[in-house]
Symmetry: none
Subunit: 103 residues, 4 copies
DNA sequence: GCTCAAAAGTGCAGCC
DNA sequence: GGCTGCACTTTTGAGC
């Protein structure tokens, strides 16, 4: 049998579930479940977004254009942040402290 | 100027923010903001997942294999759901009604 | 004028069709035509598939269920391949070499 | 057991593989296999296309731009066909016969 | 015509 | 740091 932990173990004693391959299988299980839980939440959010688009369409809006608008706003936001980080860089280079870094 | 609402308006009165193009711009704004909020939450979850992988890696696990394991589990889950929907389909084909349709 | 070859050329002499932008335009043309030919074949196959479904429907089969069945078979096949690649991954992690890599 | 043929049968005798649900299961199997074969060929072609792109990249071409070029050519071709079919329509309306369909 | 699912294209992260 | 492979997004096509 192979090491299902995915851990780079060197002993590979394969004792029991709680300690397989020299590294905690229970720990691995924990990581995997946490990730799967988070991915489910992501999936749920995707569903929510889909619903909002559906609702918007039901109110006569063109979702294709909406998506475009949102993507543009995202781009602009990214640019803005880019500019801000550049500004901070300049300020740091000039020995200035940022008034208040936005959290 | 073009109609940025994406609404299938015919009047395009462009009065104020609350009513552009014959359909509520405020309503559109609301939809857009809801979507952007949800997308932010998704992004945050992606970050969380990334962190978990990093933590796992810090504990000696091979993230590449972990990802593979998770993808397989996802596949198995997908197949299970497929089986269920197929069963429903067969039942429908046989004129049977589902005992209780899950809401 | 811009470089339509897509090649990372530095000269941009734009002599003739056989040599544009310092890199063979004829070569590019060849690649493009090969791709377009392959895509046409793909499209033809899609048409063939459509025809088979139509024929099946003409013989009294429910194409919706057929599609479902086929998708499930595909899923099962995908999972099988996933399992195999996972096995390879495990073996690699254990420093084992594959007996013989299937061509 | 349910009717796996997907056929809209009313008898559902479920005799054996060659005749399930009143309609030929063997026939269904034939349809399914034909479709799966065609889909495999499609997949193979996708792989071929991928290879051509890789080869082009290896020769210094920018595949992203290549894809753009190809998509534009496809669009232009669609437009051209649109024009031609319109022309044919006009000619038919005028009682003219098409000389010979352009290759 | 609208909705939904499959396919393609794009962008990103991990790896060499 | 370039590249391959992967995930997400977008687009296209089929079904109802």
């Amino acid at each position: 049998m192979v090491d299902v932990t995915g851990a780079t173990s060197e002993s590979k004693r394969t004792k029991k579930d709680a300690d397989v391959g020299g590294i905690g299988a229970g720990q691995l299980r924990s990581f995997v479940e946490r990730i799967e839980r988070l991915e489910e939440e992501k999936k749920a959010l995707s569903g929510d977004i889909k619903e909002v688009y559906a609702e918007a369409k039901g109110n006569g809006f063109d979702t294709k254009i909406m998506r475009k608008v949102i993507s543009i706003r995202k781009l602009e936001d990214a640019e803005r942040q880019e500019q801000e980080s550049l500004l901070e860089l300049y300020m740091a280079a000039l020995g200035m402290v940022p008034q208040q870094a936005a959290e």
